[in-house]
Assembly symmetry: C2
Homo-oligomer: 327 residues x 2
């Protein structure tokens, strides 16, 4: 019999097909191996086609290894007053915010899973530096850092890149997570994610891999097959480098991406960095983490319209497949 499982943080129920779990080979996903070598605005030599660089990492000769630029077609606008208005029963505000692109490498044919580990570390540093800088803008409340990899996952350019959107509001799902974690803390005086980590470490079935500082698990109630969360093992409320290094985070993130690429033939994917809002960055109740979801199924409208998910691969099996991949 299938199982209904509840995510303990946001309270979402999902149906998990326990008996006939789908195997990795059952998902025919559009592989996004890089092929096109035509004109690419993110490649070296074409820097003039992007808006003015915000930051970059460069070697002694001045060659860049990573650039952060404003999105050429930004969803929000950085200049202007933040005005809040009512319209009868409705609420709106001006679309103030930032929309930036992190060009992760000059190499058009590289990806987060194939580049040198130092490159992945730099990408994490870029996230960190941009969040820290945007925090100084008092109009903004949250930075959503995310990556769409592959056209089916929403990437409009194939040259590997991440994005961030800095917002004058806290997105609904983030707010729900935060509120729920705060309620749990008020009840138990413990962080709900710390409790999850402890239970997962004791149980073991949903652990994908770990290192000294980070744990990667298949969550108990995943919305989609092979959904993976990466969490710091010790309590940390907002995204930051412990001991001034992102080395071990880069290690586990790249390991997950290599495993996924091998297991599912380079599938498109999304990941989202979940961290505390600016207003309460240091707290006892929330625990930053990365939520990674490969894009294996077409269906979407129904799921996001109902908040209800059917997942044909139990997380225990997904974690086992991931553990067994040799990279």
């Amino acid at each position: 019999m299938p199982e209904l499982r509840k995510d303990p943080v946001v309270g979402r129920w999902v149906i998990i097909s326990i008996e006939r779990g789908k195997r990795p080979s059952d998902y025919a996903s559009p592989s996004h191996k890089r092929r096109v070598a035509g004109f690419c605005p993110f490649c070296p030599g074409n820097e003039y086609t992007t808006p003015d660089e915000i930051i970059s990492f460069r070697d002694d000769s001045g060659n860049w290894s990573l650039r952060v630029v404003p999105n050429k077609f930004p969803a929000l606008q950085i200049d202007g007053q933040l005005e809040k208005l009512g319209e009868g029963i409705y609420d709106k505000m001006s679309g103030i915010g930032a929309h930036e692109v992190i060009i992760e490498t000059p190499d058009h044919f590289s990806s987060l899973s194939t580049m040198p580990r130092k490159g992945v570390e730099d990408v994490l540093w870029a996230y960190y530096k941009r969040i820290k800088d945007l925090k100084n803008d008092k109009r903004l409340k949250y930075v959503l850092v995310f990556k769409n990899e592959g056209e089916a996952a929403g990437a409009s350019l194939e040259h590997t890149h991440s994005q961030l959107i800095a917002l004058p509001i806290i997105p609904k799902l983030v707010r729900e997570e935060i509120n729920s974690a705060r309620n749990y803390y008020e009840m138990k005086e413990r962080c709900i994610f710390c409790d999850i980590i402890q239970q997962e470490l004791e149980d073991g079935r949903r652990i994908i891999c770990e290192n000294e500082l980070y744990l990667a698990i298949a969550p108990y109630a995943p919305r989609a097959p092979f959904e993976t969360w990466i969490l710091p093992k010790s309590h940390q409320s907002h995204f930051c480098p412990p001991d001034n290094s992102f080395g071990l985070l880069a290690e586990i993130l790249q390991r997950i991406l290599k495993q996924i690429d091998k297991l599912l033939d380079i599938p498109p994917y999304n990941y989202i960095l979940h961290t505390s809002p600016f207003s309460d960055e240091n707290n006892e109740y929330y625990h930053w983490h990365i939520e990674f979801v490969p894009k294996l199924t077409k269906i979407a409208g129904f799921e996001w319209g109902s908040g209800f998910y059917i997942n044909p691969t139990p997380p225990e099996e997904a974690a086992r497949y991931m553990r067994e991949v040799e990279i």
Copy 2:
């Protein structure tokens, strides 16, 4: 400047691109004109390939015009005990429920927008009858009725059909809507949807069409371009036929679908029936309605991961385009 708008019911903020609103022709959607005439389990003559019929509508000669059958690969199972269990910090229950398919017509090449209006009316009757019957099963709390049209929207068979999933829980987004509507009622002694309807009727810019009993609008904070809601103008908490007829609902639903097909070249789409849970069907605070979303953009993972949407077509423009379509 773009605008941030908040949905008054569920509190979701979306970014609306006000200035350079995308036109219908800017969305290259995979048209789902019917083409395949190979073996189809939903076509007449192949009834033996589906599980045993639950109900059907037939003429005097016994030929069916609509059939409801169990889904051959059900997400939930109707037989068994509903058991609820804890697993440490986690909660689960047995996957008890129903998963049914409404085969809307015997004609493989027909669709809700092209079939005779009487056919659409019958589909609505089938929804109503199945909900009414499933309500008798005391293990179940909610019936989610939805339609995936076109492969890109999640339909695995192209012969026009709807589905329903009857659940022992209330899905997260439904629960949020209900709770929010209840809170509003407690504050104002009015249904929030009735207030929305009144404001939209006075404003007029987001009205797509209306008839004596129903109103179709582009909601103020739509998640996606051309999102459309159909609501009964007078307060009705759960899906039911006023005056024992679904004629006018079939009329407005089919009109919307015809307009969308003409405007966007038969796009894939999803719609979901939002109605009150079994436990409190007759109430003052919730207002049933249909939420319709054409599937025009590829991106999905990021949106459902963050609860945050960017909509490049303002609803005022979407409604104007829809009003101007001649069908």
